[in-house]
């Protein structure tokens, strides 16, 4: 697992686009959304609501990308087979890259929170450390599930699945009520949103900004859902690797 941590961290530090990826888009996102809240003359609470969504989106994106790097780096460098020749399980792969992902996600979070506080008087600590911790942990769990699901898709369908994988990720996040409460969604979509753990973590965090919770026990529900999906994603990835060993896709993705 440490092997993956070191590798991902090294690759991150070598990547010319690292800072771009880590800083640019999230900052642009927060600034533009923040300015929009001014233009629309939202109350400070409403502005916080939207900013929380933006920050969560950035954190989840960065973290899940890092988790997906567990296989993506190898797919891109065509060295897939070496990783699967070694006596490690996929849990080592995903856990290792998740650790790096959390570090990057945390960095992004701190940066965006500071930016939000400085530019838009947004106070992340208002709900207290415990609520903040639960919220971040929720974001990271969601990232893990999404990242592992992307790994599974890519191992199942090869490089072709990449674009599809990212698209589906973004769909999931938009449904999670990033910028609006779930109650504004039409019923079938709202049902989908209720199936996404991030929805609950967002909801729980936002109660501290004066938005009554739409759910009974949001944090517990979010955790339970995450755990369920984590197991499912893990099993899917496991099955995908087995299949790739059978079809020879594992070889095709190397050399």
């Amino acid at each position: 697992m440490w092997a993956i941590v070191v590798r991902n961290a090294l690759m991150a530090s070598r990547n010319v686009f690292f800072f771009f990826e880590l800083l640019f888009w999230p900052i642009v996102g927060v600034l533009s959304i923040g300015l929009m809240t001014r233009f629309l003359r939202l109350t400070p609470e409403q502005a916080s609501f939207v900013l929380i969504g933006t920050i969560a989106l950035s954190v989840v994106n960065v973290c899940q990308l890092e988790v997906a790097y567990a296989v993506l780096l190898d797919v891109w460098s065509k060295s897939m087979k070496h990783q699967f020749l070694a006596p490690i399980g996929i849990r080592h792969l995903t856990a290792g890259s998740w650790l790096v992902g959390m570090a990057r996600g945390l960095a992004i979070f701190v940066l965006l929170a500071l930016l939000g506080g400085w530019a838009f008087d947004f106070d992340v600590l208002h709900p207290g450390w415990a609520a903040l911790g639960a919220f971040l942990f929720g974001c990271f769990l969601t990232s893990w599930v999404v990242g592992v699901a992307v790994c599974a898709l890519i191992t199942l369908f090869g490089n072709r699945a990449e674009a599809f994988a990212w698209a589906s990720v973004n769909l999931v996040l938009v449904l999670a009520g990033i910028y609006y409460p779930v109650s504004v969604l039409p019923e079938p979509v709202a049902a989908l949103a209720r199936a996404i753990p991030l929805t609950y973590f967002l909801d729980a965090y936002r109660t501290h900004y004066g938005f009554p919770s739409e759910f009974a026990a949001p944090v517990a529900t979010g955790l339970a859902l995450s755990a369920l999906y984590a197991v499912l994603a893990h099993l899917a990835f496991l099955a995908a690797v087995r299949r790739a060993r059978r079809t020879g896709l594992l070889l095709k993705m190397s050399e």
Binding site: A3, V6, L73
Partner: protein, 311 residues
Amino acid sequence: MLAIDARDVVKTFRSGWFRPRETRALQGVSLAVPRGAIVGLLGPNGAGKTTLLSILATLLTPDSGRVTVLGHDVTREAGALRRRLNMASGRPSFLWSLRVGEIIAFYGRLYGLSGSTLRRRVDALIELCELGPYRRAPYSELSTGLKQRVALAKSLVNDPELLFLDEPTLGLDPDVAGRMREHIARLRREQGITIVLTTHYMREAEELCDEIEFIKGGRILARGTSGELKRQIGLGEVVALKLDPPRVAWLGEAPGVLRCAEADGWVECTVDDAEKRLPELLRALHAEGVIVRNVRVSEPELEEVFVELAK
């Protein structure tokens, strides 16, 4: 004790969503490799060499057949087996921006090495594969020969008992390829590693391998030492004689002689076994009063065997 015991291995690749295609990559291959041996899989492109190697290395699951490697079943006990083997290929590919030392260390960690053990192993491998000056060079900037040496170093990181080398000298200059072969021969000599390598160079197989498996179209067509292979094909050995008088009529019908031809004043007799036939021929010629001025014995090139088999 066998390092590899594979029986009737079959593997068919299915590809294409619209028009499914089937490639019968292996059609019942059996292979037995004793510990400490170097065995070569020799065959043209698309013969199934890489497929067979990948199955033995647990990267691919066979459709049917029984495969036992180092006493482990490759599908049921893959985890335990993976610790004890490793693989390198002649067209290696690693994370482009990592440095040579980092690549070896990364794979070392995957095999559970850490701390000073890891550092010592990486140092030793860099020394062994003569990569010292390139330790800090990014992988993408290395030449083909160096990349292959990195691959070899990586494949030794877990101190494997069994090593698979897929076309280890592919695309190398002759002298660089020669050095790579020396490295390989030394691994077996000094560390007793069992090695299975694939190649489509006859010379390489002849020089390195105790036994050669000739594989084509997913089947093993012939096996044996290079000498046995030559005999098996019936190419025989050539006994060339310079005689006085220059022609002897009965030579073509002598026992063990497959055919006779004349070239540049030499009579070239292809015989089944030169060691046995040459004294017989000399005795017969002497008895006839023919003077033998010169004798030359040559083995057929494995190349000719290859051409013969590939037909």
